[in-house]
């Protein structure tokens, strides 16, 4: 057995040889203060690896495991509130994805904002119909419960199919022209989900039956959420040909506008005398009939 005095540091000549042959390799140096500094050299493989780790999705396990879905709910209350604030107050130059999502897309926000929107549109539409028809004695209030299912189908189709289309289109352009940076599918869904938040207070305010106010609210909501979408997707298509860039933006904004106007027209109908209530429809031909008979009698 060697005595303790025999232990000395041995020089490993191979290490010095390895380093001299490949000077670009990453080295580990332990300084006297005890910190460990890892020197990542500048060669391409290292950089691509680290950017993949930072930019790609953290997928733990296959899609059939619970942990896979848990990774999409990795947000705190403060983060969700911050993202909602970012979608309501779009500052120019602040890309929603880069600034707020920061490679941590979540499904909590989009899902619960969609559910809230479904119920707020249905309930506000109910309230609006009630308020409009309050003075009509022939009107009997009945809750339009089937509207909830229609609202749910519309909102969820919009919040999932449109991002799928936008993401697919951007990825296809990215493969055709190498310069464009795209977004992952989850980030697209996230942006669309959070941009729908502004419609929730808008739909609650739509119950006020003042005609010009409703259209003003639509325009304000469209401008705010449309600008969030435009500022997110413009950097992705800006490098493309002018025609594709502008047409992509036009399609995104017009689909958003269609959703808002569709909600307004379907759920917040102003019933004229040929409107939604059955009694209204029946009185119109009867009234015409009586005036005609009166005219004949005279």
């Amino acid at each position: 057995m060697a005595s303790p005095h025999d232990l000395t540091f041995q020089e490993f000549e191979e290490a010095a040889d390895l380093l001299s042959s490949n000077p670009g390799a990453s080295t580990l140096s332990i300084s006297s203060s005890g910190e460990v500094k890892v020197d990542l050299s500048e060669d391409e493989d290292n950089q691509q690896e680290s950017s993949e780790l930072l930019g790609g999705e953290k997928q733990t396990g296959g899609f059939w495991t619970f942990e896979y879905y848990q990774s999409f709910f990795n947000v705190d209350t403060i983060q969700v509130l911050d993202r909602i604030k970012g979608s309501v107050i779009p500052l120019p130059g602040r890309n929603f994805v880069k600034h707020h999502i920061r490679n941590n897309p979540d499904l909590y926000g989009p899902f619960w904002i969609c559910v809230t929107l479904v119920f707020s549109v249905a309930i506000s539409g109910d309230l609006y119909t009630f308020l409009i028809n309050m003075g009509d004695p022939g009107y009997h209030y009945r809750p339009q419960f089937n509207r909830v299912s229609i609202a749910a189908v519309t909102v969820f189709l919009y919040a999932w199919l449109v991002p799928l289309g936008v993401w697919g289109f951007l990825t296809w352009r990215q493969s055709v022209e190498r310069r464009i940076s795209g977004y992952t599918f989850l980030e697209t869904v996230c942006v669309y989900g959070y941009s729908l938040f502004i419609y929730i207070p808008t739909s609650i305010l739509w119950t006020i039956p003042v005609y010009w106010l409703e259209w003003l609210l639509i325009i304000i909501a469209l401008v705010i959420s449309g600008s969030v979408l435009v500022m997110t997707f413009w950097p992705a298509v800006r490098d493309d040909t002018k025609l594709t860039a502008f047409s992509t933006m036009a399609v995104i904004v017009s689909l958003h506008a269609l959703l808002a106007v569709g909600f307004k027209l379907y759920f917040f109908q102003t019933p004229t005398y040929t409107g939604s209530s059955h009694s209204g429809q029946q009185t119109t031909p009867a009234a015409n009939h009586t005036t005609l008979t009166l005219g004949k009698h005279q």
Partner: protein, 229 residues
């Protein structure tokens, strides 16, 4: 090496005197949980009259109702969860809320199946949401708590139905509004008292908000219930 043996002999020398002599009897009791006693219990619940079994379950459900009505920080709902209470409440609520099939003008009211699906499907989604956010509560415990906390809203439904037996006027609407709002706040508060402890601290609001939305929608369905003319 020889010195080591010597010293150990000296250290352990005193212990060799300790021995149990033959004439001191060793006595004592060793109690082992006897398996046969549990088997006797299992058999005895099969032999008991059906009335006892049903009453025992009803008593458990009733005890949980009391816990919901006076919510303290107790774990009674969580420890022995059962789904009888939620089923009873859900069926009662759906029966009272459903639209009459004979009237053609009342097709706007929610059907029995719609209310049933909303309550159960909503509870499942809220449970999944809390588990995905990192909650430590189990799936059925959470379903149990959410179902039992519908009790104040069911009571409000019964009160509304009684109020609507009188005249339909704005006074009855104000009374119904107050009753439904109070019971909705009660339900949300009760379920938060049971569920909040199992969530990580920085995500409590994220878990409480869907519960709030769930009871709000049920409260809305109760408030807009109008009897057939």
């Amino acid at each position: 090496m020889a010195e080591v043996e010597e010293s150990s002999k000296r250290m352990f020398a005193g212990l060799s005197d300790i021995s149990i002599s033959e004439d001191i009897p060793v006595e004592g009791d060793i109690s082992v949980p006897v398996r046969s006693q549990n088997a006797d219990d299992d058999f005895s619940t099969l032999d008991e009259p059906v009335k006892d079994t049903i009453l025992r379950d009803l008593r458990a459900v009733g005890q949980k109702f009391v816990h919901v009505l006076y919510p303290k920080k107790s774990s009674a709902l969580l420890k022995d969860w059962d789904l009888w209470g939620p089923l009873l409440l859900c069926v009662t609520l759906a029966l009272m809320l459903q639209g009459g099939s004979a009237d053609s003008g009342d097709d706007g009211r929610p059907q029995f199946a719609e209310v049933f699906v909303i309550i159960w499907f909503g509870s499942v989604i809220i449970t999944l949401n809390s588990k995905l956010l990192g909650g430590t509560i189990s799936f059925f415990q959470s379903l149990c708590v959410l179902g039992y906390c519908i009790l104040p809203l069911t009571v409000a439904m019964i009160v509304c139905r009684i109020v609507l037996l009188g005249s339909i006027s704005s006074i009855s609407f104000v009374v119904r509004l107050i009753v439904v709002t109070a019971s909705f706040c009660w339900s949300t508060f009760a379920s938060t008292a049971f569920l909040a402890d199992s969530q990580p601290a920085n995500r409590k609001a994220l878990v409480v908000y869907p519960v709030f939305l769930f009871y709000f929608v049920i409260g809305w369905m109760i408030l807009t219930f109008s009897p057939s003319p």
